[in-house]
């Protein structure tokens, strides 16, 4: 009897406290890559306005599924929805989904060659052929031609790739499709692909682990991860013909180079982009927002938050190892955000 009383009191306390705390909460789910900056944003924004966010980093695929099923207020994804997926959301939820780019990431080629001290240079076709298994030795004449003066060891190349489905893989294979017709035909572009060669590691840490552990290996990892963990990585030749080091400026410049061809729904892929110093393997990550929302309070809160994120939130990006959006893209996003409605009415 006593125990039951205690439990009853506990439940009551819980109920009271949750009523007291009942404030606006927005639910979201999706990509893991931007989860760090999103939680920073949500935290800062909650301190400012009291609006709570509940974001679950379950992966881009999960985010797309949740927004399609209508179980969340917003989604997040590293890859844009395909036309079929957009049509599916429209059919199931009766509204369009908007893509709002938030930050950008770059992907670097990390390698492990103890005898080489300077940064190696790569170009698109060499990277594609390494990942196709056509270039198998580090002292291959094509790698040597890009790196005059560097003594390359006569070592087999161990290729490392992601084993889990990932937006990183999506952007990387998208780049390879653009620079290598053979890659496009044989392998293609997706969050995970049928790799012709190599070993798979789970997550950025898995690939980095493979690379760190094995002399003569090469693998692709997110720029943020490589910087935080001080992994060595190579320079990459961009469309303009320059060898570019990956950093937040060159990634942002890749987006700037893509602005003039930006599609109106902002589903832009910015790999192999124009621009003198544009780093070629870069990509946006998006928030997925319903164009029209039933719940007016939630809609207003979400729109306010998005505006804040574009105005203030971007400044947190580089501190957390993300590349901020260039000004032109922010402008496009703000226009997009202004078009969000609630029950057909504009949100003030």
């Amino acid at each position: 009897m006593k125990l039951r009383n205690v439990i009853a009191v506990l439940f009551l306390a819980l109920a009271v406290s949750s009523v007291a705390k009942a404030q606006l909460q927005l639910n979201g789910a999706g990509a893991t890559f931007p989860a760090v900056i999103y939680s920073k944003w949500f935290d800062e924004y909650k301190n400012l306005t009291g609006v709570q966010f509940n974001y679950q980093a379950i992966g881009s695929g999960g985010g797309i599924r949740q927004i399609t099923e209508g179980t969340v207020d917003f989604g997040a994804s590293d890859g844009p929805l395909s036309d079929e997926q957009l049509a599916e959301v429209k059919a199931k939820q009766g509204v369009e989904v908007l893509h709002i780019p938030t930050v950008m990431g770059g992907i670097v080629l990390s390698y492990n060659l103890s005898s080489v001290s300077q940064k190696l240079k790569f170009d698109g076709s060499v990277v594609a052929d390494i990942y196709l298994g056509k270039i198998t030795k580090w002292n291959d004449s094509r790698i040597a031609a890009l790196n005059p003066g560097v003594t390359l060891p006569n070592k087999a190349i161990l290729v490392a790739h992601r084993s889990d489905g990932s937006g990183t893989t999506y952007i990387f294979t998208n780049y390879l499709c653009k620079v290598s017709p053979e890659w496009k035909e044989k392998v293609g572009n997706n969050t995970s692909v049928n790799w012709p060669v190599g070993l798979g590691g789970k997550g950025n840490d898995g690939v980095a682990g493979l690379v760190k552990q094995t002399e003569g290996s090469i693998g692709y990892v997110e720029l943020a991860y490589a910087v935080q963990n001080k992994l060595p990585y190579g320079l990459l030749k961009n469309k303009a013909g320059n060898f570019v080091d990956a950093n937040f400026n060159t990634v942002t410049e890749a987006a700037a180079g893509a602005v003039k061809n930006m599609p109106s729904d902002l589903r832009a892929i910015i790999t192999d982009s124009d621009g003198k110093n544009a780093y070629p393997i870069a990509g946006f990550t998006w928030l997925l927002i319903y164009k029209d929302m039933k719940n007016e309070t939630k809609a207003a809160a979400l729109v306010k938050f998005l505006k804040w994120a574009m105005e203030k939130g971007e400044s947190y990006a580089s501190g957390l190892y993300y590349a901020p959006l260039p000004k032109q893209v922010v402008k496009l996003c703000e226009k997009k955000i202004a078009s969000i409605t609630s029950n057909g009415k504009k949100i003030k």
């Binding site: 881009s60 889990d164 572009n189 995970s192 049928n194 070993l199 798979g200 789970k202 552990q213």
Partner: protein, 273 residues
């Protein structure tokens, strides 16, 4: 699970089990190499670990002096309690470099003409997964077998010894009595090996490939599901992964059924004799 995998079953039919291309881009899904990887890694692990763990169990239950038995049993049980991620990390940082620098070059040097030991020794691959699995399964089989051996009545041993049997002969009699229990422990271990996800995916190389060589990368069903489920965006991709889970489930049922059948036939033989 069947409902979830329906689109894939309708699209691929039996080809899902017999084709060996796993290509999420073209949306062609054939699970043969993945099923192969699962079955081979688990069975090899069992073959390695079984003699070891039964040996450990006999030692703990029959011959070890009490002052040694207590801490040893504790250690074996502790081994069972280690999370699999920790095994995986140990695999990456200790086992894999050891395999790459010592074991695999030796094997390919001495037995390189056998198909099992060909290819470049990267460390990551089927061999690493098999070894990790056998270490993970050992404590399960060993500690259950020990309990089973203990539960054999003391009078059996005494009777055997009284009839002039040596210690080893008495142990053999006890072993015979404990056989169904040990067999059950083995099945439990096999179940863990087949379903193990994290530690395996960290060392196996994760490529859907059928190769006789233990040095080559491979893939298991549980790893594929864990790796690809979160980012599987298309309906067919998702349902193929669910079908994979269904196949895993069916394989487990088959193994369990076979085990039951075996235990049942053994028991009948004993009752007859």
């Amino acid at each position: 699970m069947y409902l979830g995998s329906k689109p894939s079953i309708e699209k691929f039919g039996w080809r899902f089990l017999t084709s060996s291309t796993w290509d999420p881009v073209q949306e062609i899904f054939g699970a043969l190499p993945i099923i192969y990887g699962t079955v081979v890694s688990s069975l090899l692990a069992l073959i390695i670990t079984l003699p070891l763990s039964i040996g450990v169990a006999i030692f703990l239950a029959e011959t070890a002096p009490p002052w040694l038995e207590k801490p040893l049993s504790f250690l074996v049980e502790l081994l069972a309690g280690i999370p699999s991620v920790v095994y995986g990390l140990w695999g990456i940082f200790v086992l894999v470099p050891f395999l790459r620098d010592t074991v695999e070059p030796y094997l390919s040097d001495k037995f390189g003409n056998l198909p099992f030991f060909t290819g470049a020794p990267y460390g990551f691959g089927l061999l690493a997964a098999v070894l990790i699995l056998s270490i993970m399964v050992l404590p399960i089989i060993a500690s259950i077998s020990r309990d089973v051996l203990r539960s054999v009545p003391q009078s059996q041993r005494e009777a055997a010894l009284a009839l002039g049997a040596t210690k080893w002969q008495a142990t053999k009699i006890v072993l015979k009595d404990a056989m169904p229990g040990i067999f059950g422990a083995t099945m439990l271990g096999l179940g863990r090996a087949i379903g193990e996800t994290m530690a395996v995916t960290m060392v196996i190389g994760n490529r859907a490939l059928i190769s006789p060589s233990l040095f080559d990368p491979s893939y298991t069903m549980a790893s594929v599901i864990a790796n690809e489920f979160t980012e599987a965006t298309s309906q067919l991709y998702l349902s193929s992964l669910i079908e994979l889970a269904l196949v895993l489930f069916i394989i487990t049922i088959i193994i369990n059924g076979l085990a039951r059948l075996l235990v049942w036939s053994m028991e009948r033989r004993w009752k007859a004799s």
